[in-house]
Symmetry: C2
Subunit: 118 residues, 2 copies
């Protein structure tokens, strides 16, 4: 028997703020909240969700794991995410890639793909 | 409209090797494979899956994002994962936490939780 993928855990300076940003990005709910752990999920029955936990250390390098998002409309979604507090970042992508690289309020890189069937 | 969470992307020195490790961990299939991208998923209809992409740089710090696994039996699953090539790592967890911290073949930390309902 293999393991089930339960969740993604994100180290954060401010888990409450980060959980709210990502809940807005994904239209997820905050399903649990304590100072040492804030959990968001599509609903309480759906995993993996995302868990934000406080850590003392700051981000020091490009993340080895990142989230890719599938929008209905890439341009409109990038504009919405920038308004939510995301920032454009350069991780060495060329000007010709089809995805847009953004970072969340604590600098975690993520990509907004071109819209695709799912 | 929010974005849908499409996938997790993992930077890798050896995407083919890493995809096979994680496919074995999660009982996922390799659903796409090219030198610059290897994709695993539960099946071709289920997202998020995991995409492994080659990067030139090595891992330099504890990951800000990590995967938590929900096993049927924690001890048995840890033994299975160690046999697959995982290693125990110390990220500062105390001896009293209920989860086991392992790292994949390229050092990405992940946790095996105690078994829980899902």
């Amino acid at each position: 028997m293999a393991s089930r993928w339960y969740t993604i855990v994100v180290d954060a300076a401010n888990p409450a703020l980060m959980a709210r940003f990502w809940a807005a990005v994904l239209d997820y709910q905050i399903v649990f909240e304590q100072p040492d752990e804030v959990v968001i999920a599509k609903d309480t029955e759906t995993y993996p969700g995302i868990i934000f936990v406080p850590v003392p250390e700051a981000k020091t390098a490009k993340n080895r794991l990142h989230i890719d998002l599938n929008p209905d409309n890439q341009d409109a979604e990038v504009a919405r995410l920038l308004a939510l507090g995301a920032k454009r970042v350069d991780v060495g992508q060329s000007g010709e890639v089809t995805w847009v690289v953004l970072a969340d309020p604590e600098g975690n890189e993520f990509c907004v793909l071109t819209a695709r069937e799912q």
